[in-house]
Symmetry: C2
């Protein structure tokens, strides 16, 4: 179904948007890739790195096209609604909408509120990113082998689901279909919590003294703390309840660990560490 699509419009050509464009080019997509954004320099960079064929600030112009097209909205989750409002007057069968936002309940709600034909919107979340940002950090292989969640509403149009699914598959992603609610709970645990843990570690180590002895372990465990702060703030605001519950569980586990360390319970610590290694290794093995 994505084969019939002859244009892709990328709204927001930062790291993720530009990586979509580069990845489509690499996958042999022969249609036109149009970038939409407010900052001319960003669009120019996206064009220079080969992520888009042309850039414009005018969404209406970008979606004016006779054939089928997919609009991929790659803006912060807090500004999705504004883009949907701009898209609404141009909606028609054959214009499919997806996004790359890190939360799905709020984005799906914005879609139903602002789009006039929400049946052509299929919310998506490609689980890939980088602590870097901007089109100069784009990577055409960013989504390859990574999960991409689709959260189609019950009344989503079949052709929309299949066109959007086909686009993410063309980028090499592995598709997972679930409800927006399931998605938000799962990513709170496996994606948003790791960022918050990295933030806590950076602050706590810094509180305790000089960081001069820190090495590769500290570097990797805190990597996510370098990711874009406004984007991360947006995500926490949009997914506050599941994130709050994940932090509550973390606090309970931390208190248990503090007790084991204080009481010198080495057998229990060994079990805890062995289980953690097993959990990670099973996940790495795809188990």
């Amino acid at each position: 179904m994505f084969d019939a699509v002859s244009r892709v419009v990328i709204v927001g050509t930062g790291l993720v948007g530009a990586s979509v464009g580069l990845g489509l080019k690499r996958a042999g997509f022969t249609g036109r890739v149009v970038g939409v954004g407010r900052t001319p320099a960003t669009l120019e960079t996206a064009k220079r790195v080969g992520a888009i064929d042309e850039g414009t600030a005018d969404l209406a112009e970008a979606v004016t096209h006779d054939g089928k097209l997919v609009v991929v909205v790659c803006v912060p989750v807090g500004t999705m609604g504004e883009v949907f409002r701009g898209l609404a007057p141009h909606q028609r069968r054959g214009l499919y909408v997806t996004d790359a936002g890190s939360t799905k309940l709020s984005v799906a709600a914005d879609g139903r509120r602002y789009l006039t034909q929400p049946q052509f919107f299929v919310p998506a979340h490609p689980m890939a990113g980088s602590e870097r940002s901007g089109p100069e950090a784009a990577d055409g292989g960013l989504f390859r082998g990574r999960p991409c969640v689709l959260c189609p509403h019950d009344d989503a149009a079949d052709d929309a689901v299949s066109a959007v699914r086909g686009m993410w598959e063309a980028l090499g992603a592995t598709i997972h279909v679930m409800t927006a609610d399931q998605h938000d709970k799962q990513v709170a645990a496996v994606s948003h919590l790791p960022h918050l843990v990295a933030v806590l570690l950076a602050h706590t180590a810094d509180d305790l003294g000089p960081l001069g002895l820190a090495s590769t372990g500290f570097r990797d465990t805190t990597r996510l703390a370098s990711s874009n702060p406004p984007m991360r703030t947006d995500i926490v605001a949009a997914n506050a309840k599941p994130i709050g519950e994940a932090l509550d569980r973390l606090a309970a586990n931390l208190n248990e660990l503090r007790g084991l360390v204080r009481k010198g319970r080495t057998d229990d610590l060994l079990d805890l560490f062995t289980d953690a290694a097993a959990i990670r290794d099973a996940w790495l093995d795809g188990g």
Copy 2:
């Protein structure tokens, strides 16, 4: 001073010990490198990868040498004392001892307890490692550009300090000299805490549901959870007090974060995330 050393004896040829051997060869060390260990297969692998010239189970035989030598003890911190006890009868001027243990107060105390000439022992901690283990994972560049802490006692012999310092410098490490107490507090924050945070994250995410959507962020933030559980248990036991204090601080910071998320304090969250990114970036820049 390390120039005058014509033999290096590596007790324990796992990842760190074998990396010492490989690194010395790469640095042009022309003396003999002898591995000591209880497991013939480990010594054979260390020899096959080029980390040692010969292996033996007999420590006395390994240190029988007419010239100056450095003995590098690369065993878990819980078994350092046993090695020192074996070394004690063979101590003499020109036989210098160092180690690669992750804690220093307990190792320094073991040295003073079991060695007959503790003035020739210079406790060391090269801040490098891997979640992998064994001589097959050895890397001659493991210590290059990484901090290596030396904690010489006030009455350490100058020739011992300079020979040991020269050896770690030959491996490319950047030397930091401090007391064992300062070391243990600093590594609790920048090295031991990251492991415990990775363990907590792996358990918490697993408690909350399936890990199928986890991606590169989860992979990197939990990397240290895969590191050797018995070795990590040993480290926590040997450095329990500073680690307990680091966990207390982590818990206080976590509780503050939970409050910000619960109350939807996005301005404060943005500040917290911005500061965390700044802390990490300043450290990466060597600030």
